[in-house]
Point group: C2
């Protein structure tokens, strides 16, 4: 029902992936105004950016304005909120749809000046969920970079001795999370990607799914490596996790590994267009419960399978859809992660994650990753 | 007068530098709730992040909550806006100050539930303008990375032949903006920095201050190199621009270069704590007008000295203060750029930029950069 309401954004494209998606012009870190009504796009940019924006929007027929084109007073020419109002006045548009994170200062100003501002409850650009061929290739490139980086990390971990305390030694020095993360970042960089927040967590740290990890890596404990590169040019992400164990694997850990692998298979087996996301998630959840493994979300910290089974991947590393207990259905062309995990506080965690694209018949891995130590 | 109103943020630290500044916990890309009242800080994070956040805030005494701690209904436990309301209810706070870009959806919800939401007109954390010793050292590290990268770029440009059409040839192939940018990015990466949007623009492109540049580099034309690295660990920026010319310099370009150097000296000579930013800006503006050079902001594209003389640098590459015609005064401990430029559409631009810290007696360069071809 919001379909025909013009969409308005006031942001910079490095902060706002909707803007990056909808508009070929990449802003500086300063905010611009974007307005779309049906096929027509308008952009208000600082005077200094106008020529550049005009060139970027030429092929799409978008119209570029500078604040001086909007008949604003001197004060308003310096306020991006006022640019938004000036553009709406110039186009005669009295009603806009904005994202939940639209800036309150602009919304307040527009409402004071009798513009109706509808805050959408979901994404402002739901079409982002379905990737076209180009976008899919972009995600694949980032996913391949992640696979290459993971292989290099695995080779580094494999090529270690184990000291008497159980720490991994690489060329005589203790190998740390930081060392491995650094190596991964170098590989990603060489593949035109950034990956500053890569996770390399070992032992008890790995029981906290988003712990980045620090300090020595240990034999016989899980090493969770979660790599989610963003391509420096096109901005699309990949997302990949493997859990590696150097040296003999304790029975408790082996049981966790086997369970997570089974949950992964069970979830993947459900994926195809039309299936509810909850069905995929429940397939993973039930795998654990069938094995007699109990999740406790209220423990401190929570234990078991404590997150959803996956999420969309694109210009944002976490975007729609969510593969949790919601009622959404999978659609062909979505790019999603499948990442069951099991976390035992104080001991460690296991997570295995792949990124796939949903097809009518099932799914396709964005890249294969058969890494073993 | 806003001083004692609690400050509220709902965002992720990779998008929101205020959050990164005010809170030791680095979020994932998902939003968290931050509340500060006098010395007390509260954070609401997803259950999965709680342990990690508790560890990050331990030394500062900040309190970490998960949605489940706030007595929210199942629906509200999934909405970060409702977390914000739950936290305010739990702390008895009925009035908050938020930044202009605070998410409208959260503001609307809080207002419906009778919380007074004050949108500040300037920065929510004005204290960010004054850098402490640690922050200054961080900016210096990034600035040194920029200087090293600029030296490498200059060496690459110096080490070229000039073909019959005037293009620069490096080891037999045409040297492009992209080649130089790539080299710069590698150097920055090796210095723990990112610099994806580095400008290397030549000739007519350089007349558009934010044009990133593309294609062959030419002899006898300005090559504007603007490097603004962000450190991958601590997040502070440097900002440095030099304009290089390979081969003989045409008289028109020499005149621009000399003028910009004079404007730079004139602006720098004004800098010290207590001086108005406008005085610094006008020193640069007047240098050009005394030389008989006219700025035309209304031309298409605008020509002359078409931007302000500088801006603050920190966790954001553009932050307060602005060195334009505003009434703000410089203060000791600010880190600011001084970057006069002169742009002649169709021909080219010249910009020279250094980053300095304001002192009581004058200023100090963050790093020296005496690059010559």
């Amino acid at each position: 029902m919001m379909k025909n309401i013009p969409r308005l954004m006031v942001d910079s494209s490095d902060r706002n992936s909707d803007l990056r998606y909808a508009c070929a012009f990449r802003t500086t870190s300063d905010a611009v105004v974007f307005l779309q009504h049906r096929q027509q796009v308008w952009l208000v940019v600082p005077l200094m950016e106008r020529e550049h924006a005009v060139a970027a929007l030429r092929s799409s027929g978008g119209r570029v304005l500078a604040p001086a084109d909007l008949g604003l007073c001197a004060l308003d020419r310096r306020r991006v909120s006022a640019w938004a109002y000036g553009l709406l006045r110039a186009t005669g548009i009295k009603e806009v749809a904005v994202a939940p994170d639209f800036p309150v200062a602009t919304a307040d100003l527009l409402r004071r000046r009798r513009i109706r501002v509808h805050v959408v409850s979901g994404p402002l650009f739901p079409e982002r969920e379905i990737k076209n061929r180009r976008e899919l290739l972009c995600c694949m490139a980032s996913q391949r970079a992640a696979v290459t980086a993971l292989r290099v990390a695995a080779a580094l971990i494999r090529d270690t001795a184990i000291d008497t305390r159980g720490r991994l030694l690489h060329e005589g020095t203790v190998l740390t999370s930081e060392n491995v993360r650094d190596r991964i970042e170098h590989v990603l960089f060489a593949h035109q990607c950034t990956g500053a927040d890569t996770i390399v967590s070992c032992g008890a740290d790995s029981a906290l799914p988003h712990h980045r990890g620090s300090g020595p890596l240990w034999a016989g404990r899980p090493i969770v490596i979660d790599i989610f590169p963003q391509h420096r040019q096109h901005g699309y992400h990949g997302d990949l996790t493997r859990t590696l164990v150097r040296g003999p694997m304790p029975a408790r850990l082996r049981r966790m590994m086997t369970a997570v692998c089974s949950a992964r298979q069970a979830a993947l087996a459900q994926i195809r267009a039309g299936v509810s996301a909850a069905r995929v998630h429940h397939a993973a959840v039930q795998t654990f419960s069938r094995l007699g493994m109990t999740t406790d979300l209220h423990a401190e910290p929570p234990s078991g399978f404590i997150h959803s089974t996956g999420h969309g991947v694109g210009l944002d590393v976490h975007e729609a859809p969510t593969l949790g207990s919601g009622r959404n259905r999978l659609r062909a062309g979505q790019v999603i992660t499948v990442e069951p995990g099991w976390y035992e506080p104080g001991f460690g965690g296991v997570r295995i994650e792949d990124t796939v694209t949903v097809t009518r018949a099932g799914y396709q891995l964005l890249a294969r990753c058969a890494v073993r130590l």
